[in-house]
Symmetry: C2
Subunit: 145 residues, 2 copies
DNA sequence: CGGCATCCCCTTCGATACTG
DNA sequence: CAGTATCGAAGGGGATGCCG
C-alpha cells in the first residue's frame, strides 16, 4: 500500500497487475482519481512559475520581501506577493511582520515547507542534468516537422 | 559544484555562503539565472496539468492512445494528444505507428523519459503524504481571512 | 518597505465537431 | 482508432500606479 498513513484513500478504478507501488498507482494500469487530484493540486502549487524557486531560495533562511525579490531573477513584485500568499495559505511558508517603521516582513519555510526541499532538489538535479538533452530533442523534432 | 557533468553553466550572481549544493544554488542566497531557466522549463513541461500523469501511467508499459485515455481519468482527447506531442518533442516519450487498419499507435517512455520516474515518484509520495495537511492549512487560512 | 488594485495580453484547457 | 480544427471561457502573469 502506497497510501499515506491515515489517509483514507478510496482506491477505486484499480486493476492490480503490479504492486510495485507507484504512489497512487497500485496497478501498472489505471490511476486512482484521488491520487490524481492530489498530485495535480500539488503540482498546481509547486509547478507554477515561481513557487519552487521561492522555496529553494528560502531553504534554511529567513528573508525579507525585498531580499527575495533580488535573489530571484525575473520575478515581479506582484508575482512574488501572490506566490508567497499561496505558499502561506498552504502552510508551506511562514510570514512574520515586525511593527516597525519602515515595515519589515520576513519569510521562512515552515516544517511542512521544509519537507519540500528533497523534492525540489530532485527536480532541480533532473532539470540541470537533462535540460540540454531536452533542448537537443526539441531542435531535432522541430527540424523534422 | 552541483552543475551537471559537462554542462557549461555560467554561475554568475552567486555569493558563496553555503556550498551544500542545492542544484543551481551554490549559495544560500542568489539563484543562478541559467539554473532558474532550466528548472522552470522542466516544470513548464512536467508541471502542466497532465504530463506527469501520462508519464506515470506509461512507466514500464507500451500503451495505445485509447488505453491512455481510459487510464487517466478526466483527460480529454485533445489534451492527451497535445501532451503526448510535447513529450515526444522533448524526447521523453516514443511514438510508434503501425500501418494497419484500423490504425494502431503505441506510446512508451524513452530512456530519458524513464529517468523521470524517480522524480515523479518523489512528487507523488509527497503529494499523497502532505495533501491533507495542505487542505487543513487552507481551511484555517480561509477561515481567518 | 511591502504591499494591493487595475488593466490587459496571452496561454491553457475543455467542448464539440469533423477526418483519414 | 487516432487524431485535427475551431471556438470560447478561465486564469496566469506582466506593467503600472497608488497606499499605509
Amino acid at each position: 500500500m502506497a497510501a499515506a498513513k491515515g489517509t483514507p484513500m478510496s482506491l477505486a478504478y484499480i486493476e492490480v497487475r503490479n504492486a510495485a507501488g507507484f504512489p497512487g498507482y497500485e496497478s501498472s494500469c489505471s490511476i486512482d482519481e484521488n491520487a490524481g487530484r492530489a498530485i495535480r493540486e500539488v503540482l498546481d502549487r509547486v509547478g507554477d512559475k515561481w513557487s519552487l524557486l521561492v522555496i529553494a531560495t528560502l531553504r534554511g533562511d529567513r528573508l525579507r520581501f525585498t531580499e527575495l525579490l533580488k535573489h530571484i531573477p525575473g520575478i515581479s513584485q506582484r508575482m512574488l506577493t501572490l506566490t508567497l500568499r499561496q505558499l502561506e495559505r498552504d502552510g508551506l511558508v511562514a510570514r512574520t511582520v515586525y511593527a516597525e517603521v519602515p515595515p519589515r516582513v520576513e519569510y521562512e519555510l515552515t516544517d511542512l515547507g521544509a519537507t519540500l526541499i528533497p523534492m525540489a532538489r530532485t527536480i532541480g538535479d533532473w532539470a540541470l542534468a537533462n535540460h540540454p538533452a531536452i533542448e537537443e530533442s526539441r531542435a531535432r523534432y522541430d527540424a523534422a516537422h
